[in-house]
Structures are given as structure tokens and as C-alpha cells.
């Protein structure tokens, strides 16, 4: 009988999520923003697996996590390609300097 419950995992996930959000919000560098996003995705995956483990839906949560990982890989590739293009065009990867959406 272990004392580690679902809530423990959820707390880890919450902290990880918040750190990812903090990185996304505060960092100027687009690569850092991407890293934050990876943290958020990992926190989400932890949630999936934790619920899957403790709610008895063993395989379903893992399937969802697999697809999240797949999407994360695709996202990372696309996002990096975009970042490279932005760098070519603006010669910077600082997201606060790129505000074309405003105009």
C-alpha cells in the first residue's frame, strides 16, 4: 500500500505546466518559447497517464499520450522551420520584436 496517489502526479503536472507557461510568457527567444511549450505538453502527458493509471483506463490514456508525442514532434519540426524563416526575414528570434499581427 503506497501513499503516492493521483494527486501527487497531478501536482507535478501542475508545477510543470506553470513553469512552461512562465517560460512562454517571459522568454523573448522563440526557442525558449518552444521549450516552454514542450514542458506544457509533458505536463499534459503526465496527466493523461496518471488518469489512465488511476482510473483503470490503462491503454486509452497511453494512446492519447502517444498521439500527443507525435504531434509534439511534428510541432517542434514545423515550429523550428518557422523560427528559422523568421530569423531569415527579421534577423532576430525575439518574439516581442515581431508584431506583424498588430498592423
Amino acid at each position: 500500500m503506497t501513499t503516492i496517489t493521483l494527486t501527487h502526479f497531478l501536482f507535478i503536472s501542475a508545477i510543470l505546466f506553470s513553469l512552461g507557461v512562465y517560460a512562454v510568457i517571459t522568454r523573448r527567444n522563440a526557442i525558449m518559447v518552444l521549450m516552454g511549450i514542450e514542458l506544457i505538453l509533458n505536463s499534459a502527458n503526465i496527466n493523461f497517464l496518471a488518469f489512465s493509471r488511476y482510473s483503470g483506463l490503462n491503454i486509452e490514456g497511453q494512446m492519447a499520450a502517444i498521439f500527443v508525442i507525435i504531434l509534439a514532434a511534428a510541432e517542434a519540426a514545423i515550429a523550428l522551420a518557422i523560427v528559422l524563416n523568421i530569423y531569415k526575414r527579421f534577423n532576430t528570434v525575439n518574439v516581442d520584436e515581431i508584431s506583424l499581427l498588430k498592423d
Binding site: V24, S99, L101
Partner: protein
């Protein structure tokens, strides 16, 4: 169609062919056009003579050819509604055909010399053809519809001929006046035709008369029958220059003199008399009385005016009106044959008078041109005189015409005038209207006086200017020959072998009073009684007419030849009367003051009404519209645009407001998303 009717149709159409030929080719063959026209009319005259000589001995009362022009395929009062038109030749028509073609032919002939070198020589002959065609159409048709058509054609062609020298303002004015005054009468004619059409559903003379004979009266009222007759007579008043529409005729003297001869002798003015003669059977006693009085008044007024005129053509013009009044009066009193007879005889001698005066004017023009005198009026009798020896043929022929018109025995005029005067005497005996024969004899005297006054002043004595006298010459043969022919025709022998009475001549035997068809109660004195009475009055009439004519001639000689009576003194003594006559009874002034002024006044009023009221309404409507548009424009620009702009502005405002949130920075958006998430979580907790 019989051969004769075909020929009659040919008579009608030949002048039209001449017209069409000349109007299209006249420019190219200018010099020849006169000969062409004259040749056509010569052929026409020969055909007319053939018709006359075929018709008079003919058994048939009338040759008629009628066909249905328009069939409406419907019925009115059980009478099929259709328009029948056609031509007919009875004795009256046959005589009129000869008269018209003869006078027209002679005028054509005369014009060869008179109009030589005119700027519109071929046009002149073309118009003469058209005129003759129109007049022949009036004579030959057997219905009111075609008659009205030709009637208006006469009006048109007279307009063209009177206005032949349209560069002269007086000529174009006279043409317009003739046309417009005629229109007044034609309107009445037209209304009369419409009454007839409404009632009888036919316009042929035969159809109408037989319908009336069967007791079919317009609106079952004799008054309407009288009205219909008088309205049709209105046309005659216009065309035959009867009082009160006589004013156009003297002005029509602005046309070339041969035209005056044609218009005033045989064609246009005769058309009115012919119309009355044609309509005669359906005229009631009341209508005839009106007609007789109109004729008498016309005859008297014109005769008095003629006394005080100095223009040779004006004198003849007024004498024409006077003689037309005579004819109408003759028809009005019931002396049908006498009236028509006077029309025929008058046609000959009046045409002669005009042509002779044309000859005189021609000579005067020539002489004035020779002495370079451009101020003297070639038509003023006071600048003539002593032409007897210079122009013997003209003088003698004109003398014969003057004798004829004055009613001197042995002339045709004597015969016809005599019959009319006898008719008036008989009429006064039956009806008690004694004023009519009195006027008749008075006018006979006046006619003799003013005609001889003219003759004496023009031909006797010495010419007023010696220089000019040397240049006066007799007119060429082509002008004198028509005069001689007409002079011959002014003798009694052509109409009756009895020099005293024509009542047994061929004319009276063949052109008889038509059967009156109006109901017994409103018809005039029966023909037999009337003719009987005329015979009784004949001797009296003859004696009286010869005496008044002789008296008139005597006074004329006493005044102007022997100078026993000073014309100036008389004129001075009767100055108001003389002025009254010389100013033509102030008819023109009266009409100017009343009809013309009223018309112009009404026109001004209408123009004022148009320009102030109508335009005002229109402009008012326009300004109201404009005001409305201004208001609506303001509404648009302020309210609608305001709302639109407000919408746009508010959208812009909120956009500006929200724009500050839209920083374009990723982090900001994520923060907003997070805040949303947190709010959701807070709600959950």
C-alpha cells in the same frame, strides 16, 4: 362605269396629271410648262363639252357611279354603316364642268403672256392644275365626304395661288387670311356633315335626300334640319365670301390677276354657290330665308364698298362679292335655276372683267416700267384714263362685260339678273319680305354705277400722264383672244334665243329646280306656284332692273364723263358715309378689334396662363420637389450618413479601444488565454 362617266373621271384627273407633271418636271422645262398646262386644260375643255352635249339630250336624269369605300359591317338604326363614295354627272354638273374647264383654260391661255418670265412660272401652272382639279372634284362628286376633301383642296390651292408672290408680305398675309377665314366657314360645313352622317349614316346626296323624303329628320326636329342646312351653308359663306366672312376676297387680289379671274369667277367662289345648289333639296324655308338675307346683305354691303374703291381689282373684287350675294340671294328666295344661271353667266363676264383688268394692268406695268416710274400704282384707276384708243380690244371686250354685269339687255347678265330679281319679287309676294327685292334692285343700280365709273375713269378722257401714254400698248394676241371668247359668251344667244327672257332657253329647260325633300310643314313655296309667280313678276322685274341700271349708268356718266355732278363734292358732303364705304364698312377694323383682338387676347391670356399658372405650377412642383430633395438630401447627409458614420465611427472607436489589447505579441495572447483558463478554474472551484 359607263363611257361617259369614264370621260368625266378623265376630266377630273387631267388637271391633276398636269399638276403632277409640272410639279416634278417644271423646273427642267420651265418655258414649256405653260404650254403643257394649257394643252391639258384644252383637252379637258373638249371632254367637258362632249359630256355637256351628251348629257343634255340624255334621257337619264343623272349618271351615277357609287362604290363602297369603307364598310364598317355594322348597323345604325337598321341602316348599314358604310362610306359610299363616287362620282355623278347631272345637268348641273355637266354645265359646271364646262364652266370650270372653260374659264380655267382661258386663264391658262391668258397667263402664257401675263405670267411670262415669272420666277415661279412652272409652279404657277402646276398650282393652276391643282386648283382646277380640286374645283372639278367638288363639282363631280356625289357625296359630302369627297366634296369636303376637294373643298379643302380648293382652300389649299387658293392659298398657294394667292400667295404665289409670297415674297410680298401683303401677298402672303392675304393667302393666310383667305385660308383662315375659309377655315371658319369650313368648320361649320364639317359640323353640318357630321350631323348628316350621325342621322343618315350616309353622305351621298341621293341617300340623304331620299332618307329625308322618307321622314327621317335629324333628332326628329325640323330645327335640326334647318341647323344642318345652315351649317353646311357656312361652308358656302366662307368659300363664296358671303357676309360676314367676305373679308378674305378683296385681299386675295394680291395674287396674280389671272388667278383672281379663276378664283373669283368660276372656281373657288362658285364652289359655295354650287354647294348651296347641291344642298338645296334639304334646305327648309327658315334656312332659305337666312340664306336669302345673307345674300342680300352681302350684295348690298359689297356694292356700297365698290363705289368708293379706286383700285381696279378691288372694285372688281367687291363686285364679285356683290354678285355672289346675288346668286345666294337668288337661291335663298327659291329661284334655284336663276341663281345657278347667274353663276354661269357671271363666270364668263367676271372672268372677262378680271382678265381685261389684267390686260390693263399689264399694259400699265409695261408703260410704268418704260418711263422708270416705280411709285405709281399700276392698279389705281386714278392714274389711268384714256385707254380706249390705246387698247381697243381690251376696251370693247371690257365694255361688253360691264354691260353684262350691269344688266343691260341683250347680254347674258341681263337674263340671269332679271330672273333673280323676278324671283325676289315673287318671294316677297309669298313671304312678305319686301326688303329683299328692294335691296336687289338697289344693288343692280349700284352695280351699274360703280362699273361704269370704273370704265369711264379707266378708258375715257385723257391719260393722266402724257409721257406714259405713249408707252401704252394693246396686250398680245394670246391675252386678247380669251377676252374675245368671253365677250362672245356674254351675249344672250348662248343661253337663250329670246333676248328678253331666258326661262325658255336650254339652261332653264335642263337645269331645273330639284325636288325639295323637306317635310311639307317647313318647305318653302312649292316650285310650280313659285315659277308661275316668277312669270307674272317677270315683266315688272325687267322694267325695274333696266331702269335702275340705266339710272346707275346715267349717274355714272353724269358724274365722271360729263362732270355735271362733282364726285368730290358729293364725297365731301357725305364724308362720313364715303369714309364708311371706302373703308369697307370697317369690317377689317371690326374683325381686328373683335375677332382678331379677342383671339390674340385669348392667346395672350393663355400665354399668360401658361407662363404664370401652368409654369408656376410646374415650377412650383419643381421647387417643391427640389425642397423635398434638399430635405431628403439633408436627412441623408445628416441622419442616414450620420448613422452610418456613427456605426463606422463606433466600430473604429471600439477597434481603437480593442487594438490596444491586440499587441501582436504572442505572450500577451497567451496571457489572455491563461486568464480565461483561470477564470474557468475559479468558477469550477
Amino acid at each position: 362605269m359607263t363611257t361617259e362617266l369614264t370621260i368625266a373621271l378623265a376630266i377630273l384627273l387631267l388637271p391633276l396629271v398636269s399638276f403632277i407633271l409640272l410639279i416634278f418636271t417644271g423646273k427642267r422645262y420651265n418655258e414649256k410648262s405653260g404650254l403643257v398646262g394649257t394643252a391639258f386644260l384644252g383637252a379637258d375643255l373638249l371632254l367637258s363639252l362632249y359630256i355637256l352635249f351628251a348629257k343634255i339630250p340624255s334621257e337619264a336624269k343623272v349618271w351615277d357611279f357609287t362604290f363602297t369605300w369603307i364598310d364598317f359591317h355594322s348597323f345604325v338604326n337598321n341602316v348599314p354603316l358604310k362610306l359610299d363614295i363616287g362620282i355623278m354627272v347631272d345637268n348641273l354638273t355637266a354645265v359646271m364642268l364646262v364652266v370650270v374647264t372653260l374659264i380655267s383654260f382661258l386663264v391658262h391661255l391668258f397667263s402664257l403672256a401675263y405670267m411670262k418670265g415669272d420666277i415661279r412660272y412652272s409652279r404657277y401652272y402646276a398650282n393652276l392644275g391643282l386648283f382646277t382639279f380640286s374645283m372639278l372634284g367638288i363639282v363631280i362628286t356625289n357625296n359630302y365626304l369627297l366634296m369636303y376633301v376637294f373643298w379643302e383642296l380648293v382652300g389649299l390651292s387658293s392659298y398657294l395661288l394667292i400667295g404665289h408672290w409670297y415674297e410680298k408680305k401683303s401677298a402672303s398675309d392675304a393667302a393666310k387670311k383667305a385660308f383662315l377665314v375659309n377655315r371658319v366657314g369650313d368648320l361649320g360645313f364639317f359640323i353640318g356633315i357630321m350631323i348628316v352622317w350621325m342621322q343618315f349614316s350616309t353622305l351621298t346626296f341621293d341617300g340623304i335626300f331620299s332618307s329625308i323624303q322618307n321622314g327621317n329628320i335629324p333628332f326628329n326636329s325640323n330645327t335640326w334640319l334647318t341647323a344642318a342646312g345652315l351649317l353646311i351653308f357656312c361652308g358656302a359663306v366662307g368659300k363664296s365670301a358671303q357676309f360676314p366672312l367676305h373679308v378674305w376676297l378683296p385681299d386675295a387680289m394680291e395674287g396674280p390677276t389671272p388667278v383672281s379671274a379663276l378664283i373669283h369667277a368660276a372656281t373657288m367662289v362658285a364652289a359655295g354657290v354650287y354647294l348651296v345648289a347641291r344642298t338645296f333639296p334639304m334646305l327648309t324655308a327658315d334656312a332659305l330665308l337666312y340664306i336669302a338675307y345673307i345674300g342680300a346683305i352681302t350684295a348690298f354691303i359689297a356694292a356700297t364698298i365698290a363705289i368708293a374703291q379706286n383700285d381696279i381689282k378691288k372694285i372688281l373684287a367687291y363686285s364679285t362679292i356683290s354678285q355672289l350675294g346675288y346668286m345666294v340671294m337668288g337661291l335663298g328666295v327659291g329661284a334655284y335655276t336663276a341663281g345657278v344661271f347667274h353663276l354661269v353667266t357671271h363666270a364668263a363676264f367676271k372672268a372677262g372683267l378680271f382678265l381685261a383688268s389684267g390686260s390693263v394692268i399689264h399694259a400699265m406695268h409695261h408703260a410704268l416700267h418704260q418711263v422708270n416710274d416705280h411709285h405709281t400704282d399700276a392698279q389705281d384707276i386714278r392714274s389711268m384714263g384714256g385707254l380706249k384708243n390705246k387698247m381697243p380690244v381690251t376696251f370693247w371686250t371690257m365694255m361688253i362685260f360691264t354691260l353684262a354685269i350691269s344688266g343691260v339687255p341683250l347680254t347674258s347678265g341681263f337674263l340671269s339678273k332679271d330672273e333673280i330679281l323676278a324671283g325676289t319679287l315673287a318671294f316677297s309676294k309669298f313671304s312678305g319680305h319686301t326688303i329683299i327685292p328692294i335691296i336687289g334692285f338697289l344693288v343692280a343700280g349700284l352695280t351699274a354705277f360703280y362699273m361704269f365709273r370704273m370704265m369711264i375713269v379707266v378708258f375715257f378722257g385723257d391719260h393722266v400722264d402724257r409721257n406714259r401714254a405713249d408707252h401704252l400698248h394693246e396686250s398680245p394676241r394670246v391675252m386678247t383672244v380669251p377676252l374675245i371668247i368671253l365677250a362672245a359668251l356674254s351675249f344672250f344667244a348662248f343661253y337663250s334665243f329670246n333676248p328678253i327672257s331666258a326661262s325658255h332657253g336650254w339652261f332653264f329647260e335642263n337645269v331645273t329646280t330639284p325636288t325639295v325633300v323637306v317635310p311639307e310643314s317647313v318647305s318653302a313655296t312649292s316650285t310650280e306656284e313659285f315659277v308661275e309667280e316668277v312669270h307674272h313678276q317677270h315683266t315688272l322685274a325687267m322694267i325695274l332692273s333696266v331702269s335702275v341700271a340705266g339710272l346707275g349708268i346715267l349717274i355714272a356718266f353724269a358724274t365722271y364723263y360729263w362732270k355735271k355732278i362733282s364726285a368730290d363734292a358729293v364725297a365731301d358732303a357725305l364724308k362720313p358715309l364715303y369714309n364708311f364705304f371706302s373703308r369697307k364698312w370697317y369690317f377689317d377694323e371690326l374683325y381686328d378689334a373683335t375677332v382678331v383682338a379677342a383671339t390674340i387676347g385669348v392667346a395672350r391670356l393663355l400665354a399668360w396662363f401658361d407662363s404664370v399658372i401652368i409654369d408656376g405650377i410646374v415650377n412650383g412642383a419643381a421647387s417643391v420637389t427640389r425642397l423635398g430633395s434638399v430635405i431628403s438630401g439633408k436627412f441623408d447627409s445628416i441622419v442616414v450618413d450620420g448613422m452610418v458614420n456613427f456605426t463606422a465611427y463606433s466600430a473604429g472607436f471600439f477597434g481603437m479601444l480593442l487594438r490596444t489589447i491586440q499587441t501582436g505579441k504572442l505572450q500577451t495572447y497567451i496571457v489572455f488565454a491563461l486568464i480565461g483558463l483561470m477564470v474557468l478554474l475559479a468558477l469550477y472551484i
